[in-house]
Amino acid sequence: MTGESRKVLKARITTALVFFVVLFVALVSRAYQLQILSGEALKARAERQHKDVLELHTERGKIFDRNGKVLAASTHVDSVGVHPSMIKDHEKTATELARILNTNKKTVRAKLKEQRSFSWIARKISPEQSQRIRALNISGIQLVKEPRRFYTNRGLASHVLGFVGTDENGLEGLEFKYDKYLKQVARKISWGRDARGNQFCMDERGGTSNDEKNNHLILTIDSRIQHVVERQLQEALKETGAHKGTAIVMDPRTGEILAMACVPDFNPTVFYRYSDEIRKNRAVADSFDPGSIFKPFVIAAALDEGVVSPDELVDCENGRYTVGKKVIREAENKKFRELTLRDILKYSSNIGSAKIAERLGKERFYRRMKQFGFGSRTAIDLPGEASGIMRSSELWTDVDLATIAFGQGVSVTAIQMIAALSGIANNGVIMRPQVVRGIIDNRGQVIREFTPSVMGRAVSAETARIITSYLTGVVGDKDGTGQNAQILNIAVAGKTGTAQKYDFTERRYSSEKVIASFLGFFPANDPRMTVLVVLDEPQRKRWGGQAAAPVFREVAQQVIRCFDNGIGEQEYVAEPLDMEIKNAAIEEITCDPSHDGKSFIPDFTGRTMGEVVRIARERNIDVRLSGTGWAVKQNPAPGAFCDDKTVCAVLFRPAY
């Protein structure tokens, strides 16, 4: 090799070396840039491209009634979105979407042309609509799953349940109050995507882990009773022309609310179509002057304090009683002279009630009313409860004391009223009203249980018993104001109320606008249900006894006849058959008057009601029947002599 060629070779080798060194440095630099400098960002980008996250099917907790019937449940529905840059034929797409979604074509077209990467066209559409849109298969139109709350009975118990917003957050009622339990956190699993776009699972458990923490509410509400109450309230509104109506059914022994209805109601699925006034749960949030349904509590307090005795006569001043500068009169300008406590309630005497309150005195009267829970929240597990207005007794004038005694000048909520009367029904012990029984998880395990709790004792058991017997007279006696609440063979204790509404513009009680109400419980001797019915501004049938008492009766009758609730018709007259029989509103069957007047009472026991009636008719004996099933007891006994004035009471019981 010559020196020349050696030089050339060396130069070539050097060139190659430089070339490779440069190349190596370039490669290392690039590797450094990719791995070290932008390594994290690129890794994340790569993961974004081949990794995905699948959101698993999760639902907001359900709401059940006391019998396990679903009142509210969630599922997923499709929402339609658009990626405007991917749309090719705007006109055609807009026409087709507008047709399926029943919306304006212009609006859809505007959305398709928006200068955004993504925008919504319609949220939470129906399954049929989403199926039709899917069938169109338009690129750029995307269907996205979103949760949606369904209220399976539409407006049933809507004021209790409340509603949720678009993002499934509770906004009102129990949905709001128990949001933290009902809310479901989304469950996600890793999801891979290969070069062809096929998806594969990257989660070893396949998303089957039990980390789902779905909680459900169990209510004390009975949807069947709730339905009956709502239906009857709606009927009453039609019949009386009242603007609004509220009704509550409560179990006095536990404080459990079986039904709570406000009419007009609303459909919580489309809550935004209704005004705040309609959506408000008036049973807990509104207070009103109670009127005469307040009187039983005044008499109960006076009896309990010993300022009056059950057999005492109260002078009712012949319908006109002056307190300070105010003259107190009876309703409908009636005039009473001396009335017993029982009659004060039966005839709903304002003067009698005012005079009893005077005997109690302001301070004691105020204290006792507070014991009944007036002027304080009941702490029911519903949001927005009002406390009513019970001004301090130090601010009362003598006139205030007198008018509050018949329910004017004091403001109460419906839930306070029913809790207070339930206290009388429950031997003087007031139970805290509650609408939620407990919270369970997905497997049905109880997470929290809300057991009945006592609010306090309002009166002694003896006083409660006496007031119950007075209230039974209000409904059962022929001249009681609550006759329209009578139920055949069931003793009802109750009180009617017709309160004038305060006119804030004229600053006086209106003679035109009234609140008609009925507050009662049944069966009187073993109370199972307390019912309050309040009708706001009835235009026809303006008295509580005419407007509200029939609603009570209809509700009670349907509950007794149609549901297995253990309320036996025979219970009330089981013992002293002859004494209390008139209070039980017993069915009377009058025989043919042309009988000879001489007969012996046959043995009715073991016979059916039809047979007893037939035999009695044949022998011209008057009978009073009570209960159902077969005859088990009779008074007078078989073989006793009877004349045309004798009435034989026969008690029936079902065969067990």
Binding site: L54, L56, H57, E59, K69, V70, A73, S74, T75, H76, P127, F150, T152, N153, R154, L156, I189, W191, G192, N198, Q199, F200, C201, M202, G206, G207, S223, R224, H227, V228, R231, L488, N489, Q557, Q558, R561, C562, G568, T628, G629, P654, A655, Y656
Partner: protein
Amino acid sequence: MDEGKGVKYSSLGYVSLVVMVVVLVYVWCHVQVTEVNYEMAQAIKVREQLLEENSKLKIEIERLKSPARIEDYARKKLGMDYPERNQVVVLR
């Protein structure tokens, strides 16, 4: 000397074969896992769809069982009404 070479080559062949088999089994296992992952993805999707359908059907059942609907149906279509007192016989 030739015999010794033959033995060496044949044992090298065996070793290579074993290694190849092991590698193939390993690859086959991975292919299987990947296939199962694809199947799982499909199954999860189907399960999600079925769960959704199931919850929709449950809601539909509850809706059909609502007291208001049943009462309307009973009154309007079947001509029924709430029973009078004498129509109720309690059997216990």
